[in-house]
Amino acid sequence: MRSTTSSGSADAGVPGAARQRPIVLTTIGTRLLSAAAYLVSALLALAILAPVAVSFWGAMTTSKAMGTASEVGPGWQPSAASGGGVFAERTRAQRGFFTLLWYRYVFRVYGRTILFTLQLAVVSVVLTTVIGVAASYALVRYRFRGQALVEEVVLLPMSIPGIAVAIALIQAHTTLRPTWYIILVGHLLYTMPFMIRAVTNTLRSFDFVALEEAAASLGATWWQRMRWVILPNLKHAILIGSLLVFAISLGEFNASFLLNTPINQTYPAVLYDTYNLDSFQVSSAATTIFMVMLFPALLALQYVGGSELEEASQGA
């Protein structure tokens, strides 16, 4: 065990060193490798955080502070800024360094969309929970024909492009096209796999059939067994699944961009609009608002998650 014959052994000549501690097999090679792993990890974390920080910064500073072109263009007339409201305020020359103007502007112009997106995410969570938990229970508890096929097809949206699903849905369900239900359908298709995975993984991890039989032998009816035996054991999995569904639904763009109607737009489509049409500051403010909606869900996932999260969110 302790023979360190590998390349460049660092602690070969100190037999007493590993007296009490568990044997740690370190050599120069492994040290270098783990140093490289640390470095790459730190760089990745930095690369993830840096753009978040830049857009946070951009969202609260005036055009003047950013040193970019002013919001006030060459055609600006003093009379244009005489009215009230964020629209007029936007065209006024900006003097200070920090401002909340961009946030106010985004809320004023796109506030309805933010509410719609949150509503969509909540409805997705509810529906995936109801449909997903029932289906997961049936998939794990019983054997029936076509079972493997159902499991494959549920996970199918993970590996097929959202835009293809969107175009298929638009063409096949023309009557749903003008409504927001079609956006909901797209979100359900792309979030269902996460709920099903979280719940089936938990169901497969313990012998719930034995628990159920024990409850049945004590005279519990089907509903009582569900209510007092199965569901309490699934609470954690449902929580993880719901958080994943919420987060994915908030950020879903590939499928919902083509499913959106002019009246009902999801927030990522608004982000696309601001990136194309508006200034860096307004885009940053819109992005920051999105992250503020998203981060609580992600943090909560980490704190309730653990190893189940890895299993459930593979291929997110």
């Binding site: 792993a37 175009i167 982000l271 980490q302 593979q314």
Partner: protein
Amino acid sequence: MRIGGPLLVVPLVAFLVVFLLYPLCYLAANSLVPGGGVLEGRTKQVGGWSPAQWLQTATPENYVKLFQDRYYVASLVNSVLLSLAVAVGSVALCVAPAWVLVRTQFRGKRLFRAVLTIPMAFSGVIVGFMIVIMLGRWGAIPAFLHWLTGEAYLSMVAYTLSGLVIAYVYFEIPRATLTLEAAIRRFDFDLDAAARSLGAGLWQRLWYVLIPLLLPAIISTIALAFAVSMGSFGVALIIAKKFHVLPVDIFLEITGYANFEFASALCVVMLAITLTTNLYLRRLGEKHYVFRQR
């Protein structure tokens, strides 16, 4: 028959049949209808055919046009190459954080993991915006380098092919890290110690013990990353200005020409590529299971 039992799966099956399988079949069928689109003056209502009409008019016209047009073949090749580069690159990068998360304990580990999972729920557009503010014409990095050296290096990288690869890899970090982390956690490190006690060096242990056992996970990560990159068009919509990829072409076909039939054909080709790649890689992964680790 009582409620419950296998019937609980019925709502899910109904949902999948109505909203996934039927639309996909419709897509495939519609791709065989002669192309409409405003350019050819043949606009018609979407879905305006009956099965009998379809049987009479079905032709592979759209596919012939697609594979004869160098523009579409080029974007097909672009998409596949880009996705391959992204899949391989993200796995190579994300082994490091996965390893760190499994093998070390430190304070703030959960926070570190939370940071790594941030891009998971980002839509492609956000990643596109982020790469523009970091590496665009006057992004944060060129501006910093300008302050440091007086020369704005790395300016405009966002709009090149490497910018596209960076953005897609950014997008893949959480997925790749979590999959690889789960695999490394299942790896039995006694095997490593055993190999070592038999005198295997570092590289030998990596090459003959660790990598073969992680290969299924690596392959499935590559498969997922490939599928996601093939389909993610938010990033490309923002930054692929000189470079065209398939999802953006499909999008333009719909919004620009309302040519649903041709767009359907493009979608079917894209689906065929992602699904066969996925299936093939999954087979490959199963073949490389040296033995099941549990």
